[in-house]
């Protein structure tokens, strides 16, 4: 299957939630190519999460078209494009009784690449180890994720996204539970990932420090519209 070099392409996209009389996102035009770090910022309710979920095809536009690696997100084939993506949702926190260990959670990121009865390769296990060292969570690998703090859980989910070696990484408020040191570390790791892998990273964050120093393009949103940075990234 052939994929476009354009990671995301949104053409006059309008998205609305069920029961709402006004669109959560209106008339959005955005193209993101490979090798860019895009920061989407704006106040609460600006439509940032809607935008990231529309890019991944988790939400479908009722007007306009959205493409992920050149595949229309309304098509069933978008699943193949998603295999090239990593995603960290805003609501990543798990309750204290969630018993999956951090190692298990990161391993689950490889699930879409596995055929029946297939388990992880040595190389993939080594990658999990390497990424967790990079994000300073190697001591937490065998701890149940539910027993960890918000910041530790957030690092674990980012590690899962990075371990997949995605061509596009979508991070929804990835700094929300991190302290200053944590934000700095994650920001530099993400920048390094973009440069070394030639991948694209799309970050949604209302708090722009310190990631704004690492971003190639900053897009500002308000009331479901892009107010600056619209167009080609």
């Amino acid at each position: 299957m052939r994929f476009s070099e354009e990671v995301v392409k949104l053409k006059d996209v309008w998205v609305a939630y069920s029961g709402s009389d006004r669109p959560a996102m209106r008339n959005i035009n955005l193209t993101v190519s490979l090798g860019k770090l895009l920061l989407i910022t704006g106040p609460n309710g600006a439509g940032k999460t809607t935008l990231i979920e529309t890019c991944l095809g988790l939400l479908k536009p009722y007007r306009g078209s959205a493409y992920l690696f050149g595949v229309d997100t309304r098509s069933w084939r978008v699943r193949y494009s998603r295999k090239m993506c990593g995603f960290v949702p805003q609501d990543f926190m798990k309750p204290p009784f969630e018993t999956y260990t951090v190692r298990h959670v990161i391993r689950l990121g490889f699930a879409p690449y596995k055929s029946i009865f297939e388990s992880l390769t040595e190389d993939e296990n080594r990658r999990i180890q390497r990424i967790s060292e990079l994000l300073e969570i190697e001591d937490l690998l065998d701890r149940p994720i539910g027993t960890l703090s918000g910041g530790q859980q957030q690092r674990a989910v980012i590690a899962r996204a990075l371990a997949r070696r995605p061509k596009a990484l979508f991070l929804d408020e990835p700094f929300s539970s991190l302290d200053r040191e944590g934000r700095k570390l994650i920001s530099s790791v993400i920048r390094e990932y973009v440069d070394s892998e030639g991948a694209s990273v799309i970050i949604v964050s209302h708090d722009v420090n310190p990631i704004i120093d690492y971003a190639d393009i900053v897009v500002k949103m308000e009331n479901g519209r892009i107010i600056s940075g619209e167009g080609y990234a």
Partner: protein, 278 residues
Amino acid sequence: MLEFLGLALLAAVLSGNLCGAIGFYVQRLKITTLSFSVAHAALAGASIGLILNLDPVYSAMIVAVASALILGVIFTRVEYGRELISMAVFSTSSAIAVFAIYLSNVRVLATASIAVVLWGSLLAITVEKLILLLLTLFIFVLYILAYKIQIDSMLYDVKMAEAEGINVQMHMLIMLFFAGLIISSSLRLTGGFLVFTLLYNPVAASFQISRRAHMQLLVSSILGASSASSGLIVSYILDWPVGATIALVSSIILLSAYIAKIIVEAARRRCLSCPMLG
């Protein structure tokens, strides 16, 4: 007589086990309403079997599996109003079931064939049905093992799994397919109106007993099997309707699990506030 009771007991253990396990998955994947509709579609199918003079298990299986697949496909196309679609299928299935029973040649409600469909029967368990249950169990376990990492990923976080490229719709469809298959295989034992108690009560009880996902699956399967087998024994001893007795036993187990949880939590709170420990 003992041989026949042994057969029924084995079928009860298998049915209960399967219902408990599929109940866990449908609950964790948040497709409980869908499975509820599928359970009623099975009842409609069994009732249609009465009119057409077919084995109700097979007609239930055809209708339940077909409705599971149709609902699954509709759900991949429709984003909003899914609950309402499920409820529409549930009401339509119930109406078809009642109509089919009315239209069937049998005039008295207590007649054996109708009783099997509605309330379940000990006498309805045959070697053929037992093999069907064993086959269902085998295919279900095979599926769970083959797609373990994908299913685990969905159980952990469905949204993340979908965003990463797992075919969530296909797995939901397969789970619904198994729900249809398991419900219709268990129909003869518990009856169409009570089969879903074996689907939901064990998993609800397991949630009171453990908060760990894998433990919940195990406990739910064990409670399903023990509810069905002990319900069957009680119904045999007291000459009660088997489906209703199984439903009662599973409800008692659920209630006991709930009460036990309250007692354990109260004791834990008392221990924490104990001055010696505090």
